[in-house]
Amino acid sequence: MAAVSGLVRRPLRQVTVRDAINQGMDEELERDEKVFLLGEEVAQYDGAYKVSRGLWKKYGDKRIIDTPISEMGFAGIAVGAAMAGLRPICEFMTFNFSMQAIDQVINSAAKTYYMSGGLQSVPIVFRGPNGASAGVAAQHSQCFAAWYGHCPGLKVVSPWNSEDAKGLIKSAIRDNNPVVVLENELMYGVPFEFPPEAQSKDFLVPIGKAKIERQGTHITVVSHSRPVGHCLEAAAVLSKEGVECEVINMRTIRPMDMETIEASVMKTNHLVTVEGGWPQFGVGAEICARIMEGPAFNFLDAPAVRVTGADVPMPYAKILEDNSIPQVKDIIFAIKKTLNI
């Protein structure tokens, strides 16, 4: 009894995704003076979504830079600074605005190491909220995972929870390649338990490795970003009906961890992919194509199925918006269809 009561149980901290990203950036800014952050409202406004709160006060004008509304210009400036040896974090207020600058991301950043035959590296991070938010309508709701995931030379990560967010932003900043970090605005305020190792200043989540969030035997459910939470909700509901889902959090879009997905499918024989982006040429489409090409195909007992955003520009009215993104019921339906139950 005395021995048991003597055990120290440290309570797990609750950290929001926003604070996790903030911590990650703060630690990397402190660790390496070549790291700096630029973007609209990142400094004196504390960040449009308050992700960079407190950083300008701590690091000042040199390291936290407010830019004018000039995405193509400041993304290019960030890439140039990276070519010259600095380690910029370039924030897009949302990734919708990155389209103005996409040439700099792809042609100036992603392709340069290859085109130069390995002479010129570009250690830059592009980060910001991606995908649907709430009521912001078509021009502010696009998911860019497939667009950026398409390009060799880029790394693309998509954190779901706080642990992902902190570990991936730190890995991205330390990576010598251009890394696109697709955050999610609706996740910023969500708290998660922060395991003790995540509280270390050297806590990193490796880029290119998926995480099995929930073990299961009947079906593999693969997702990234906010929909991972919906998949876990669906899994909880289905568990009561005796269906055990294995939920995989991709964490990285490119390079995609197909090994983890394949190993899981070879175990469960069923696959459903879930994403917020549009169906055509999306992340799920890529996973399905690769499953067919690999060893897991012969283990499928049913065709692989995709759950995606609706194939429309995002509408505004709530009922329309709600039905334009994958809901828990849509995921459950797809899983049951695949399992023929």
Binding site: I77, A81, D103, N107, S108, S121
Partner: protein, 426 residues
């Protein structure tokens, strides 16, 4: 060392030499040899002065008096938001003159060789030549330090050379061989060197990049500047104005340089720009309009602009008025939007190499024969480089997937189908 001693003994025994002249020659020999040594410590190859050393010793044997330097008048630059501009006279030393001549001639002959190789289909794809614009790349380099930075667009072969790569590496990159400066992965528009950031294919994109490099210069506090070049066509790109704004706002040490060769592909400046005063287009950024066919004018303007930036005043803009003899690229004959007479007129009146040559010969800085010898040497160098570029093998197929990521362990890259895999090594 032996050569120098032999030359010294010739000087001492040469009774026809005036003592002061002999001393001057001797000191130039000594300084040349010192500079030759320093080229081993990593100075760009084009700064190897061994040629000048051979020249000087041959000159001794020929018993010829040359002036050590001469003063020249140069055109006054038009100014925008500047009280004073670059000086209107400059001193050119014999040594510098010979160096600039050799460099311009090398760029000229290299570009003409590229033309030839392209017509033989040994060079493919895009090939944008800069013959006629040699005073720009050589003059800019003469006005800055090797530790400064430079970025330009796709008409980049001349800059690749002046920033320190050899003709061999450049031609071999054009022919897509493994000995190319980018291992054959980049081609004409994607050549990189120390403090030279290409070679950029997307018109105008290099300008924010250059402002970013300047930001890094300021961030690092090392007193370096970045020369950010673009053409008259690119000058109408919106992102350039975004870069002007941020460079001025943050006082970045960025020299924006518009190489105005009068035509953006086939569109003349009058048809593309509401204002063709490119040196004023920076609005709140001070500007100079420079005679881009006169290497001394370019050099002085560059020195002026670099000093301005280094003093922390922020960005400055230079418009170099220049001309390209070739069309926009090898697929453009270059005569549908301009007349042959115009091209011929520029060649006969404003050719940059001719202008320098005339100045040097008329001021007794060099002899016609001596410059002809340089021409012969340059031709040989280009010929050797072309041989290499034609004979060197293509990069090995196994390396197709290399250099996707930097600093990463090797991984697999997909080929044309799922069974074809390439290894990717950083």
């Amino acid at each position: 060392m032996r050569k120098m001693l032999a030359a010294v003994s010739r000087v001492l025994s040469g009774a026809s030499q005036k003592p002061s002249h002999g001393l001057a020659l001797l000191s130039s020999l000594v300084s040349n040899s010192r500079l030759k040594q320093s080229s081993h410590f990593g100075l760009p190859k084009c700064w190897d002065y061994s040629h000048s050393l051979k020249q000087a010793s041959r000159v001794l044997v020929a018993s010829r008096n040359f002036a050590n330097d001469a003063t020249f008048e140069i055109k006054k630059c038009d100014l925008h938001r500047l009280e004073e501009g670059p000086p209107v006279t400059t001193v050119l030393t014999r040594e510098d003159g010979l160096k600039y001549y050799r460099m311009m001639q090398t760029v000229r002959r290299m570009e003409l060789k590229a033309d030839q190789l392209y017509k033989q289909k040994i060079i493919r794809g895009f090939c944008h030549l800069c013959d006629g614009q040699e005073a720009c790349c050589v003059g800019l380099e003469a006005g800055i330090n090797p530790t400064d930075h430079l970025i330009t667009a796709y008409r980049a072969h001349g800059f690749t050379f002046t920033r320190g790569l050899s003709v061999r590496e450049i031609l071999a990159e054009l022919t897509g061989r493994k000995g190319g400066c980018a291992k054959g992965k980049g081609g004409s528009m994607h050549m990189y060197a120390k403090n030279f950031y290409g070679g950029n294919g997307i018109v105008g994109a290099q300008v924010p990049l250059g402002a970013g490099i300047a930001l890094a210069c300021k961030y690092n506090g090392k007193d370096e500047v970045c020369l950010t070049l673009y053409g008259d066509g690119a000058a109408n790109q919106g992102q350039i104005f975004e870069a002007y704004n941020m460079a001025a706002l943050w006082k970045l040490p960025c020299i924006f340089i518009c190489e105005n060769n009068r035509y953006g592909m086939g569109t003349s400046v009058e048809r593309a720009a509401a204002s063709t005063d490119y040196y004023k287009r920076g609005d709140f950024i001070p500007g100079l309009r420079v005679d881009g066919m006169d290497i001394l004018c370019v050099r002085e303007a560059t020195r002026f602009a670099a000093a301005y930036c280094r003093s922390g005043k922020g960005p400055i803009l230079m418009e170099l008025q220049t001309y390209r003899y070739h069309g926009h690229s090898m697929s453009d004959p270059g005569v549908s939007y301009r007349t042959r007479e115009e091209i011929q007129e520029v060649r006969s009146k404003s050719d940059p190499i001719m202008l320098l040559k005339d100045r040097m010969v008329n001021s007794n800085l060099a002899s016609v024969e001596e410059l002809k010898e340089i021409d012969v040497e340059v031709r040989k160098e280009i010929e050797d480089a072309a041989q290499f570029a034609t004979a060197d093998p293509e990069p090995p197929l196994e390396e197709l997937g290399y250099h996707i990521y930097s600093s990463d362990p090797p991984f697999e890259v997909r080929g044309a189908n799922q069974w074809i895999k390439f290894k990717s090594v950083s």
